[in-house]
């Protein structure tokens, strides 16, 4: 029997969740919406009818006695009006439902044994003058995601799993197949293998004189996927007639090799890069992309994105402790007209809210602060949003390396395995189309952060006792990738029936490639098994030994004692054919616009502050716990009213030391439109400028690359990748800042009516840097009336890709470039003046140029300034708009106390600088050119323009 218990907030109390949805419905254009009340449903399965017991459960456990009402087997209704509609949304069977799971466990624990199953649903009571079509629209756009949920029309209907199918070993006949048939096998099986790869596999099994078992084919497809081996970056590229063998190795990794920096502990070989912090401690940093899943199910996609990158931290070395997250997003325009949206595409606002809620709920629940990020809105991301999630960890340096030993037991622990995310990896390498909502539903996963939190606590305890030899996380490709990768230098035997399952009915191959979240694998020497079990039990973490490492050089898979697969590790990891692709790049010519010479600079600056890409992201930042763990020494929001923008974040790992970790980033896809080379250069310098502004040491900084690219089978787009990689190499070596890790997400393409829509080529550079004394770190807000304002660096006529041009819908050609030698010098001098304690405040000049940077410093400190832009150190003859809004690199605005003028200027000799004004308590930003007033802006007006753009 199934009983339903409905719980809802008392009618006399406001229902904030309902109110929030109401606002969204209003924004959908349905202004007739009157009210929404949210009702939580628990469906309990029992063998016997025990009404009094069920009532007690409702009263004592499911409903809050102060704020809730509940009803057993009857509907709760808040209004009696006829115009009220009810919508009930259930999870599809097999989708993670944490509340149901927790409830079931709790009931069992407190001795209520007659409940066999718990499911939860959401019910909405919607009132207002809305017709059926309106309701359908609301459900589709807001209340439900068909990837994971279903609108229940018949409320009595209960959804359960299908009965398990009998597992038979299935061979796939490939030996005698033609090219066409091979491609068909790849596409029907969602393997994402191309013909050359299929033929290589055919050849391998021909030598073995047998057809592969499906699981073998799946394993190879997972291991050879773009997501796992980065075929494009590692392949052969014919670039403008020149042969590049392995782009990654010849640019990004080469820079790191040449720099050979002594503070790098581990680069490019582990789940994250590792740099030295103190003698005993090191820092890990990894940034991942999770674009495709976030396009389909923003909440789950972003949540599992952050969950996955946190496991990268946990799986680095012998396990680092996660101490901070970063998030950088690119979305379509929030005001994009709903009726112009192609089918199969979620509205940017929904993606925005879902992604942020996903990152928020996962990071906050894990107790890891989200400290740094950026958001870019552009039409280019309408079909494919870009979601970058980063994770920073801390690890004892001596635990930075791992190696499983023959005889070690393979232990999988954390979450159980279900059908979630099957084919996620191969799916990530495919392009989306209008049908993606349906055909790829298996690829969507929902995470459970509390499972990962328990896993983290248990893992770090086991790590501190030295109980295992190696660790890795189950990410893309699931156990297949994790175990395959861990055992590639040895060999493994895995018994798939031993893997703990969420429910019955998984085939052996599904167990092997499932991408269920929150799972990790460790290699445990036999003698430590007992202690490992004790620790996992103490933390209520599920685990199971599923096989062992052995000196065979083979991957052997068993299911219920039958061998279901055997592949040589060598073939699996080295057997794939190198990809061959063509690429070319030719400088694009955008017209340099001729804008009116005279404009109203006040209006322009206010408009720029109101641009979504520049405007305050406070509404997002506040939803993230950005200070849990108590390490925060510079928060993302700063200044007098705690709302000014910081250039980066600082963490101070120990109260006994003043040493800190600086985290920052740089991203600007608009420069890439003109020239990806200079995009890469500018993004690296921007990340470095941000880090140095926070007091980071430029000589103890490292960077990460994250490429989100479009269709790399298009030679033009691949050419952009090559060009950007060249930029990475040149800047990394010139600024002496090594790359330590990276990740690429290629083929961010959406097929619309047969036309391929690629995203803008988007490179994110994340930076991690050491700050020797956090108490000397300035922030970006003006501090004191009377202090002096300087501009460091040279302003040039570099308006191409600028936000100023974008106001006029122009791109231009004059993309910001970089004097590499001077840049290195400037970054070091700035570091020195900060270290010496001369600096009150400092802000990096980037989007919106000097104008926006000054406005932000003024907003942060709620202090005005008088400035003479005539003094700005410039190249050639610049117009006023060029002086104010050019986005030239290598520039900072610095505020210093007057008494430090001499000392300050002494240190910065040899780099371009100019004193341009004073901080004033005037409530206004006043800009002059010599004596002529150019602009006079009230701080209050700037604050409101800047803050009232991105609202929830």
């Amino acid at each position: 029997m199934y009983y339903r218990i409905e719980v809802s907030t008392k009618p006399e109390l406001p229902d904030p969740i309902g109110e929030d949805i109401k606002k969204d419905i209003y924004h959908l254009g349905l202004e007739n919406i009157k009210n929404i009340r949210f009702i939580r449903i628990f469906i309990l399965k029992t063998k016997k009818i025990k009404k009094t017991a069920l009532l007690k459960i409702s009263k004592d456990i499911l409903a809050d006695p102060i704020s809730d009402i509940y009803n057993l087997d009857n509907h709760i209704t808040h209004t009696k009006k006829k115009s009220t509609a009810f919508v009930e949304i259930a999870y599809l069977p097999g989708v993670m439902d944490p509340v149901a799971l927790t409830t079931q466990r709790l009931l069992k624990k407190i001795g209520i044994n007659f409940i066999e199953d718990v499911q939860t649903r959401n019910r909405y009571e919607i009132s207002g003058l809305l017709n059926k079509r309106d309701i359908q629209f609301i459900v589709k756009k807001l209340l439900m995601n068909s990837q994971i949920q279903i609108w229940v029309k018949d409320e009595k209907k209960i959804f359960t799993h299908r009965k398990p199918a009998k597992t038979k070993i299935r061979k796939v006949n490939i030996l005698e197949k033609s090219d066409k048939e091979l491609l068909n096998i790849s596409s029907v099986g969602l393997l994402s293998l191309n013909l050359e790869e299929m033929k290589k596999i055919q050849h391998y099994f021909a030598l073995k004189r047998r057809d592969p078992v499906d699981i073998e084919l799946e394993t190879i497809a997972q291991t050879w996927s773009e997501h796992c081996v980065h075929k494009t970056f590692n392949g052969i590229i014919n670039y403008n007639g020149n042969r590049i063998n392995n782009l990654l190795r010849t640019t990004i990794m080469k820079a790191t090799e040449e720099l050979n920096s002594d503070f790098c502990i581990s680069v490019f070989k582990d789940n994250a890069g590792i740099i030295k912090f103190t003698n005993d401690l090191s820092i890990t940093f990894k940034v991942e992309t999770h674009n495709h899943p976030s396009a389909l199910e923003p909440y789950g996609g972003a949540g599992t994105g952050i969950g996955g990158v946190i496991r990268d931290t946990l799986g680095t070395g012998l396990g680092a402790k996660p101490i901070a997250n970063t998030d950088i997003f690119c979305f379509g325009p929030m005001d994009f007209p709903m009726n112009k949206l192609p089918s199969g595409v979620l509205h940017p606002k929904r993606i925005f809210k879902g992604v942020i809620a996903g990152v928020r709920d996962y990071g906050n629940r894990m107790g890891i602060p989200t400290v740094n990020g950026a958001i870019i809105f552009d039409k280019a991301y309408l079909y494919n949003p870009v979601v970058y999630c980063g994770s920073i960890g801390i690890i004892p340096t001596r635990l930075s390396f791992k190696a499983p030993q023959a005889g070690d037991i393979i232990v999988v622990f954390g979450g159980k395995t279900g059908k979630d995310g099957i084919h996620g990896v191969t799916f990530a390498s495919l392009e989306l189309d209008e049908k993606s909502e349906i055909s790829s539903s298996g690829a969507v996963q929902i995470g459970n952060p509390i499972t990962e939190k328990k896993l983290t606590d248990a893992l770090l305890e086991a790590r501190n006792e030295n109980l295992y030899n190696a660790i890795t996380d189950c990410g893309g490709g699931g156990l297949s990738s994790a175990v395959g990768e861990m055992g590639k230098d040895l060999g493994v035997s895995v018994h798939l029936e031993k893997v703990p399952l969420k429910y019955e009915g998984l085939r052996y191959d599904e167990i092997w490639i499932s991408e269920s979240q929150e799972r990790m694998v460790i290699a445990v020497p036999k003698k430590n098994m007992k202690r490992v079990k004790d620790i996992f039990n103490k933390h209520s973490v599920d685990f199971a030994p599923i096989g062992h490492f052995e000196n065979t050089g083979k991957l052997k898979l068993f299911y219920n004692k039958h061998k279901v697969g055997e592949i040589e590790m060598n073939f699996l990891h080295k057997g794939y054919p190198q990809s061959r692709k063509n690429a070319y790049w030719k400088k694009k010519r955008f017209a340099e616009p001729s804008l009116r010479k005279k404009v109203n600079y006040e209006n322009i600056l206010l408009k720029l502050l109101h641009q979504p890409n520049i405007a305050s992201k406070e509404v997002v930042i506040r939803q993230y716990d950005h200070e849990v763990q108590g390490l925060s020494a510079l928060k993302p929001l700063t200044g007098k009213m705690n709302d000014g923008p910081s250039d980066g974040a600082i963490l101070r790992p120990s109260p006994d030391s003043k040493k800190g970790i600086v985290i920052s980033c740089g991203i600007n896809p608009y420069y890439g439109k003109i020239d990806p080379y200079w995009m890469a250069v500018s993004s690296i310098e921007e990340a470095m400028r941000n880090a140095v502004s926070c007091g980071g040491n430029p000589n103890k900084s490292a960077i990460l690359d994250n490429f989100s690219w479009g269709d790399v089978n298009n030679p033009k787009i691949l050419g952009e990748l090559v060009r950007a990689s060249f930029g990475c190499y040149d800047t990394s070596t010139a600024l002496k800042v090594p790359f330590i890790s990276g990740k690429d997400s290629l083929n961010n393409v959406f097929s619309l009516n047969g036309k391929k829509k690629s995203i803008l080529s988007t490179l994110l550079i994340s930076c991690i840097s050491i700050c020797d004394d956090v108490t000397r770190s300035p922030s970006s807000d003006f501090k004191k009336e009377g202090s002096l304002i300087y501009i460091i660096g040279k302003t040039k006529k570099e308006m191409g890709g600028s936000h100023y041009y974008r106001l006029f819908n122009k791109t231009g050609n004059s993309v910001p470039k970089l004097n590499f030698k001077l840049s290195y010098k400037i970054l070091n001098k700035i570091y020195n003046v900060i270290k010496k304690g001369y600096v009150n405040s400092i802000h990096d000049c980037s989007e919106g140029g000097i104008g926006v940077a000054l406005a932000e410093m003024s907003i942060g400190g709620r202090l005005g300034a008088t400035l003479n832009i005539e003094n700005i150190n410039k190249e050639g003859n610049l117009r006023i708009d060029e002086l104010l809004f050019s986005e030239s690199n290598s520039r900072f605005i610095v505020e210093i106390p007057e008494r430090k003028k001499k000392m300050f200027e002494k240190v910065i000799q040899g780099i371009p600088f100019a004193q341009i004004g004073n901080v004033e308590n005037s409530g206004k930003l006043m800009i002059f050119k010599k004596k002529r007033g150019i602009a006079e802006l009230k701080i209050n007006k700037m604050v409101s323009n800047w803050k009232q753009r991105i609202t929830w």
Binding site: T9, D20, I66, S67, N448, P449, Q623, A633
Partner: protein
């Protein structure tokens, strides 16, 4: 040698402020252990040894069902008598954020007329979302051993989604004030009780923290343990952070009380 006050920071699945809470109590001069209920209340640890139990912040059991509800139910079913006994011995309990939610749902706060059943609740913020922001707190009662009048406002962060304080009825609300059990109220920087964002969640009468009738149990939504070092403050670069207005004073008061009265 003077004995050090012994503090036990309780943990559940999803607790995530345990380590900084430990650090804060250590800075205040206490000796601290972290562990699960099963360890504290069963033979593994000696409950008698401890003078203070802290229910720290976090998302116990993912806030599933309602914030703090599952953890409170677990304690109620298995360890309630032991916990009550601990209180009877004159010892201290502090609940921060999720810990406050647990104490409220257990009925340990406010426990008017010594009735240990839930009479107040902490529900969804008016803004319907999680928010992390710094707030000013005014101490309005000296009933709690955790608070000594500073004549100045305390400043520390809140970070929660379910922190709106409500009571069963008006009578309960009035009694809380009459009994001086309301310790902290949210105020603006001038000390005035105003609305959002000074009152970050819409709590009735701006209530941020309450104690029981003995003054030895305190629950509060703001996080004193995140405001113990100068550099944790958002504005330390702009002005001097006076130690007596930091979150550390609350923790120090507790540690000093134990030193004075219990050991």
């Amino acid at each position: 040698m003077v004995k050090k006050p012994q503090v036990f920071v309780l943990k559940s699945a999803g607790t995530n402020c345990d380590e900084e809470t430990k650090m804060a109590f250590e800075l205040a001069g206490a000796c601290v252990e972290i562990g699960f209920s099963e360890e504290l209340f069963t033979s593994k640890k000696n409950l008698d040894k401890f003078h203070t139990i802290v229910f720290p912040g976090g998302f116990s059991y993912g806030d599933d069902i309602a914030a703090g509800k599952v953890w409170a139910t677990d304690i109620k079913y298995f360890f309630f008598e032991k916990l009550k006994n601990f209180i009877k011995q004159g010892k201290l309990i502090l609940g921060i954020c999720n810990g406050f939610q647990v104490l409220v749902k257990l009925g340990l706060l406010p426990a008017l007329e010594a009735k240990m059943e839930q009479s107040v609740s902490l529900i969804f913020n008016d803004s319907a979302r999680y928010e992390d922001r710094w707030v000013y707190l005014k101490g309005i009662s000296k009933k709690s051993v955790f608070f000594e009048d500073t004549n100045e406002l305390l400043y520390m962060p809140v970070a929660h989604a379910e922190g709106k304080f409500i009571t069963k009825d008006n009578e309960t609300l009035e009694k809380l004030f009459v009994n001086n059990q309301v310790i902290f109220q949210y105020v603006n920087k001038d000390g005035k009780r105003t609305g959002y964002p000074a009152n970050p969640n819409g709590s009735v009468r701006n209530i941020a923290g309450i104690c029981d009738a003995t003054g030895r149990i305190l629950g509060m939504m703001p996080h004193p343990e995140r405001a113990v070092l100068k550099t944790q403050y958002p504005n330390w670069r702009r002005k001097e952070i006076k130690t007596h207005i930091t979150g550390l004073t609350i923790i120090k008061n507790a540690v000093d009380y134990v030193k004075r009265i219990l050991i």
